[in-house]
């Protein structure tokens, strides 16, 4: 007997907030892994990069001499998983002397009011 899966499908708006730099801790990497898993379940997943989290998207990161696998390239593949909502906090970017051109993927740079509004629209917000 085939089940009607469609009836049970619930798409939730889930925002992952990245607030830590990429290599000092494993938080940002774990967030990315979680995003990929949730995307596989067709959830409405977004990521917001705030504070040191914006460093996660910095171009030209080369971890070869740390002898750890870099995960920056995965961000460029998010599009293939239909994860297209990447938001970057303008103030965090500017405070760190970075611009959109310094980032490895296309993002939406937004002010805090706009990101705050998006946060209010989520079913779940996952801190990292």
């Amino acid at each position: 007997m085939t089940e009607e899966i469609e009836d049970d499908e619930v798409v939730k708006k889930i925002m992952h907030i990245i607030r830590r730099a990429p290599h000092g801790t494993i938080y940002s990497y774990e967030a990315l892994e979680t995003v990929l898993i949730m995307a596989a379940y067709d959830q409405d997943v977004s990521m917001a990069f705030i504070d040191d989290g914006v460093y996660t998207l910095k171009k030209d990161q080369d971890t070869s001499e740390l002898e750890i696998k870099g995960y920056m390239k995965t961000f460029t593949a998010l599009d293939d998983y239909d994860v297209e909502k990447l938001y970057v906090d303008r103030q965090s970017l500017e405070e760190r002397g970075l611009t959109e051109d310094d980032l490895i993927v296309d993002v939406e740079v937004l002010d805090s009011a706009a990101i705050g509004k998006l946060m209010g629209e989520q079913d779940t917000i996952i801190p990292n």
Binding site: R19, D51, S92, M119, G120, Q122, I125, P127
Partner: protein, 95 residues
């Protein structure tokens, strides 16, 4: 909901920047240091209180000896009050 001291992390400063009209702030654990009056970062919570309710978790305040040292207007909740706030709001945790 914020659980970091303002001297240790920018969580209070950043979280309050994204605050919306109906949001409330709950300070727990080391976050309650942010509600202490007369410290370097007191203005962060003072500014948030201008438009939003700010709560501290009572047991965390008591554990840190901060009773009577909080900014005027801070609301103290117990664990039941904590649960009420979580039920009422879309939770956004700032670690």
């Amino acid at each position: 909901m914020i659980n970091q001291s303002p001297f240790r992390a920018p969580s209070i400063e950043t979280a309050t920047r994204f605050i919306q009209a109906d949001d409330a702030v709950l300070l727990t654990e080391d976050g309650v240091y942010g509600a202490q009056s007369g410290q370097k970062h007191s203005d962060l919570i003072k500014n948030a209180m201008a438009n939003n309710d700010v709560y501290v978790l009572g047991p965390d305040v008591k554990a840190r000896g901060l009773e009577g040292k909080l900014l005027d207007g801070i609301k103290t909740v117990d664990y039941e009050g904590f649960v009420d706030l979580v039920e009422k709001h879309n939770v956004n945790t700032w670690l």
